[in-house]
Amino acid sequence: MQHNSSARSGNNTNTEPAPVRWLLVATAMLFLTLFLFVPLAAVFSEAFSKGWETYLAALREPDTWSAIKLTVLVAAISVPLNLVFGLVASWAIAKFAFPGKSLLLTLIDLPFSVSPVISGLIYVLLFGLQGWLGPWLQDHDLKIVFAAPGIILATIFVTFPFVARELIPLMESQGREEEEAALTLGASGLQTFFLVTLPNVKWGVLYGVILCNARAMGEFGAVSVVSGHIRGMTNTVPLQVEILYNEYNYAAAFAVASLLALLALVTLVVKSWVEFRMKRQEIQS
């Protein structure tokens, strides 16, 4: 892109007069400022509006701590499960031709087009007291909805496509030749996968995992439906932000929110870096 724009700057045919350019840039940046930059700055500004002590005190709150622990637990379970699924599914879909492939791809994308509220609702319908399995679960003293398992299930659902949809096109674009070469040299299926396929898509894996993790830690709607909002028990960090905010404890709400905003920024940095590496890998080959 950098290369493109410098190539373009040299010729006058393909560009607009300078005043038009500046007007367009200014309009675009004003739009981004109103909708992105100001809100991002506001998170941190509000978080520190009452000073460092209040900020740190808000984070040391036991309920906040247990929310952080639950969020990390939820991500630690749902991300690896979806990672394994993504690797397995992309192998089947990218390396083989079979009928019904495009239907399968559409079904994998399905959770992205379902409202988060519905993503939570379906688990309430399955496992809630009035749900299909509700009575059975109650007889056996098992709790899924309004407890950690429900939160984990809903999170797996909303983050389901991330790794798979990143890896499938990447593996497809790399073809089968290197795998076939490995097989003719005597490698086993697993050796081929771990020594040849995986190293070639490692940046794609990282990319998918990063985005999957960001969503898993930040999911609000789906988790809100299944959590039951029991303080210190079934609250994740985003739910904790909601509770603090609704109690008019703005400084604390934004302090906790700033952690999530920080996570988002780290995600974007890693994502940009991975994109840079992927582009470089592409240019090299």
Binding site: E177, E178, T184, L185, G186, L195, P199, Q281
Partner: protein
Amino acid sequence: MSIEVSGVSKQFGAFTALQDISLTVPSGELVALLGPSGCGKTTLLRIIAGLESPDRGEILFNGENAHDDVRERQVGFVFQHYALFRHMTVFDNVAFGLTVRPRKERPSKGAIRERVHELLKLIQLEGIADRYPAQLSGGQRQRVALARALAVEPKVLLLDEPFGALDAKVRIELRRWLRRLHDEIHVTSVFVTHDQEEALEVADRIVVMNKGKVEQQGTPDEVYSRPASPFVYSFLGTVNMFHARPQAGQTASTEHHSVGYARPHEIDVSRQDPGNGAIAVTVSRVLPLGAIVRLELARVDTGGLMEAEIPREKHEELWFTTGEQVYVSPKNLVVFVEDYQI
């Protein structure tokens, strides 16, 4: 190790890639599968390798059924675009086949190192063991791919368009080198090409394929000078066609449209009508091309274009010029009865 392909057919959906192919590759020979793109030669090569399985027919190595599993078949396969592992160095690429062996059969680290360096020496790339494929030139990648395939001591070596992705000069160097290499190691080899010059120069035997069938197999000399079909004739070089026109006094049966073929160097050119049915033509261009001189000719009667090649000495003696009328007659006319369109 000889290779025998027996009655192999392969279908891709509605497309027939191979139709009842049978051929033999004698042990230690270097054989070319030659044909235009889409003729099924790559599919046949992949079936020999075990990368593709035939719908019918079988592949025999030394008279025995080749193993179904590509990993057990022990072939060395050089892919058209090399398929080098891009995240591994040249050394690791070449060593790959040895390092993935089960622990019991795997050579020691030292033995692997020795073997790889031996191969890198063979391909004349000792100095670049630590580079990555992206840092190599096309010709270097090709040789690394070859070394990688040879590292596992394959029973047969299969190469898919080995020189296809290289520029003209490197291509010529590399095919001579491949020929010398084969004379050194004598592993039974099959390579796919669409370039007749490449096949004629490198191969011990040539299998000419078209539309999923074998048109002819034989030594380069056989297929070039005794082509079995109009297709082979025209695919192996420039050709002049002489359409026999039904004329009074001609013996050829007139129901069949018969066509005579002669290569440019098999055409006699003279200023006087030799009187043996020679054709009057006009010289449209004279192209001195080193040792030979090519004449582009236009028939006076039909306007059809022809090419003749004469030795330079003869040209210096006769000195044909553009625009003059001369007479041509084929020295060696091969007649096929079926009509064939180039």
